[in-house]
């Protein structure tokens, strides 16, 4: 047993650097898994997209051929063009979830008897599986017994086959997707509204702000963090749309509701898909599109942090 007075002189390296090391130690598991399951596959995909491979046999190096094929599909208005076009449609239309969520949140942000039940009911679509949402909407749109055509019949319109019409199908699926996404945005705004400073509202009221001007000038600026998160989750959600398409149409009719994520699955992994390299090339394109948004989000978060 050494005497305790010896210790300060032989202070261990770990002890001296504890302050600097500790955060890295805590981050290590996260970084490790992120590197193995996210960063490495990104580079693997890049690499795979330069090969032709059926997933079973030998890989053949083909250079940029897969990307050339994608380019020609774009020029010919073929599957890749359709997917890209639908992704853009999804991106813009999905953003409707943000204002819709905001207004439902404002509407529900009151103290009425049983309001919690109403809030839960509005939040419900986000809790149920996308598969269920897809099935519910498929039945809703069904051309023979669907509720939509019955309702259109009441006002003397229709019938329309939303999921069987190549011009309507994407709108139909996006509408199904908006149902849970609106609920998600709503819950974000409801939490945001709890943090709104009552004194500022009081002050605004004294200055004569009412209705729209109150919302625009007093409430919304305070909801900025919630709006930011709503944007992030909605845009990411729009780009990775897959489940609803797979459930509702399988990319059909004749491939007109494909998006990049589904097209990738189709060519590489589905029943008839054996083009791993081509799928990887589509994944890379999707990744680059996402990267634009991710960079923007990270950059604005970084700026925000610096400001404080």
């Amino acid at each position: 047993m050494t005497v305790s007075s010896d210790i300060p002189e032989t202070e261990s390296w770990f002890h001296r650097n504890q302050q600097r090391i500790a955060p890295w130690l805590f981050l290590a598991p996260g970084i490790l898994f992120f590197a193995v399951y996210v960063i490495a596959p990104v580079f693997q995909s890049f690499n795979l997209s330069l090969y032709e491979w059926d997933g079973l046999g030998e890989k053949t190096y083909v250079g940029m051929r897969n990307y050339e094929d994608l380019y020609w599909e774009y020029v010919d208005r073929d599957a890749f063009f359709t997917s890209l076009k639908n992704n853009v449609l999804w991106l813009f239309l999905y953003l409707l979830a943000i204002p819709a969520g905001l207004f439902i949140a404002l509407f529900l942000n009151q103290t009425v008897r049983g309001i919690r039940i109403y809030k839960s009911l509005f939040f419900f679509p986000f809790v149920i599986s996308q598969v269920v949402v897809g099935l519910v909407f498929t039945w809703f749109y069904d051309p023979t017994f669907g509720l939509l055509n019955t309702m259109l019949g009441w006002v003397g319109m229709g019938p329309i086959n939303v999921l069987g019409n190549e011009n309507l199908v994407t709108y139909g699926i996006v509408a199904a997707g908006l149902w849970p996404q609106t609920a998600y945005c709503m819950i974000l705004y409801l939490t945001g509204l709890n943090a709104v400073d009552p004194e500022q509202i009081e002050a605004g009221r004294l200055d004569g702000a009412k209705g729209w001007s109150m919302l625009w000038n007093i409430i919304l600026p305070q909801l900025r963090p919630a709006t930011f998160i709503a944007f992030v989750v909605t845009i990411i959600g729009a780009l990775r749309s897959f489940d609803l398409i797979s459930i509702m149409t399988q990319g059909g009719p004749f491939g007109s509701s494909r998006v990049l994520a589904y097209y990738m699955f189709e060519v590489a992994l589905s029943e008839y898909g054996f083009r791993m390299g081509y799928g990887a090339a589509i994944a890379v394109v999707l990744f680059l599109i996402m990267l634009c948004f991710i960079t923007y989000f990270l950059w604005s978060m970084y700026r925000e942090e610096k400001g404080h």
């Binding site: 051309p143 069987g164 399988q250 083009r275």
Partner: protein, 418 residues
């Protein structure tokens, strides 16, 4: 009924087999992966495996049943990573990627055995690639037109034998406010069945196979003729509306409710139609009619198969299982009306006396001289099947786009076949 007596006799033979276990003792584990996830086929397979177990008490058999659709994508993973000893799959081009990747065991030795060489001669071709056999068939079924006999009687129609009669019938059916054919093309392959028949009847079996093998241009006039024949039916309103939104099962009610008079389908459609309440007096079958009298008749008869993965551990037991499953007795049992309700592959087994199976068997054995096709998505390479069936669906909805669709398929042909 000869076939019935035969069934009873074989059942007795099998029962006696229980009492005396086979002499060749097998041991170890045997893992079997099945895609027969529907209730009836699943029960059939499990019962058959139980009979196999009873013959080989020393063998520990493990069966995994995987959802039929999920199986189609999972097979790639398990063949390489965690191979079972026996796996179900499909014949012809559908097995080619796995054969070429060396993932299926060459079982040509089984076909050298006299019982199998004689019994399974009819399906040998569908399981042959590069002059070797890669698996055994365990069941197959006919395709054809299933129709509402009562509606035909009401309209005074008889089973058509040629294209003119077919169109005349359809005209009368449409005039009575019904559709001639129900179909659900959401999952595309049903349209492939129509293309198979129209093209085989218009241009013959050999041309059809050439097209599947990529040797013929999609913009060839003969291919266009096939589509022109198809267009005649589409233009007269022969198919139900909105078929692109339905699966094949969702298209059944149209026939059950009498909104459509017939259905070009595989024999597996009979069971759900009967369950939905159609009796055998209301339901009947006819062979797809002649279009071009100069070509021999040929039929679709998809074959489901057993294979031994190359990475299997207990190949000896797996071979024994393949012998067992294709034996005349087992073939008679598993394909009878109470079980799969399909056609046995072994020539020495007997066909159930169900009227559809009897008709189908007759048709395939005596009235399909041109050849027997597997099915479009099994005969054509996977990628071409996908692109073309999407084209068929689009054509059925927008027949005027034919030239654009064929140009697209021709481009795909240039890319896919090398």
């Amino acid at each position: 009924m000869l076939s019935k007596m035969k069934t009873t006799a074989t059942a007795a033979a099998v029962a006696s087999a229980f009492a005396v276990p086979a002499s060749a003792e097998l041991s170890g584990d045997l893992t079997i992966f099945l895609d027969t996830s529907n209730p009836a086929p699943r029960a059939t397979m499990e019962a058959m495996i139980d009979r196999f177990k009873a013959q080989h008490p020393g063998l520990n058999v493990e069966t995994t049943v995987i959802d039929r659709e999920a199986y189609k994508t999972q097979i790639r993973n398990f063949l390489t990573a965690n191979a079972p000893d026996v796996a179900t799959w499909y014949a012809a081009n559908r097995m080619r990627p796995y054969v070429e990747a060396g993932l299926f065991e060459d079982v040509s030795d089984l076909y050298a055995e006299p019982e199998i060489a004689e019994g399974l001669a009819s399906t040998k071709g569908a399981l042959t690639i590069d002059d070797k056999q890669w698996g055994v068939a365990y069941t197959y079924y006919q395709w054809g037109v299933y129709y509402r006999k009562d509606i035909f009687a009401e309209l005074g129609l008889s089973e058509p034998t040629n294209w003119e009669e077919e169109k005349a019938n359809c005209g009368k059916i449409v005039a009575s406010g019904r559709a001639c054919y129900t179909i659900g093309t959401k999952y595309l392959w049903t349209a492939g069945g129509w293309f198979d028949y129209l093209n085989m009847r218009t241009n013959g079996f050999d041309f059809h196979m050439d097209l599947a093998a990529g040797n013929v241009s999609w913009e060839d006039d003969r291919v266009k003729q096939t589509f022109m024949n198809w267009k005649e039916l589409i233009d007269m309103g022969g198919f139900i509306a909105d078929h692109q939104t339905y699966s094949w099962q969702e298209a059944l009610p149209f026939m059950v409710n009498g909104e459509a008079a017939s259905y070009l389908m595989g024999n597996f459609a009979v069971a759900p139609l009967r369950e939905a309440g159609l009796t055998d007096d209301q339901l009947d079958f006819y062979q797809f009619p002649v279009i071009n009298p100069d070509v021999e008749l040929s039929e679709d008869a998809p074959t489901d198969t057993f294979h031994i993965p190359a990475n299997a551990k207990n190949k000896e037991a797996a071979r024994e299982f393949l012998r067992f499953a294709t034996s005349p007795e087992e073939q008679t049992i598993i394909n009878n009306g109470k079980n799969l309700g399909q056609l046995p592959v072994n020539a020495a087994s007997s066909v159930d006396d169900d009227k559809f199976l009897q008709q189908g068997f007759q048709m395939l054995s005596s009235n399909s001289t041109g050849g027997v096709a597997q099915f479009w998505d099994r005969d054509a390479p996977a990628e071409m099947a996908k692109v073309s069936m999407e084209g068929f669906q689009e054509f059925m909805v927008k027949p005027d786009q034919l030239d654009k669709i064929l140009a697209k398929l021709e481009r795909a042909r240039g890319r896919i076949y090398k």
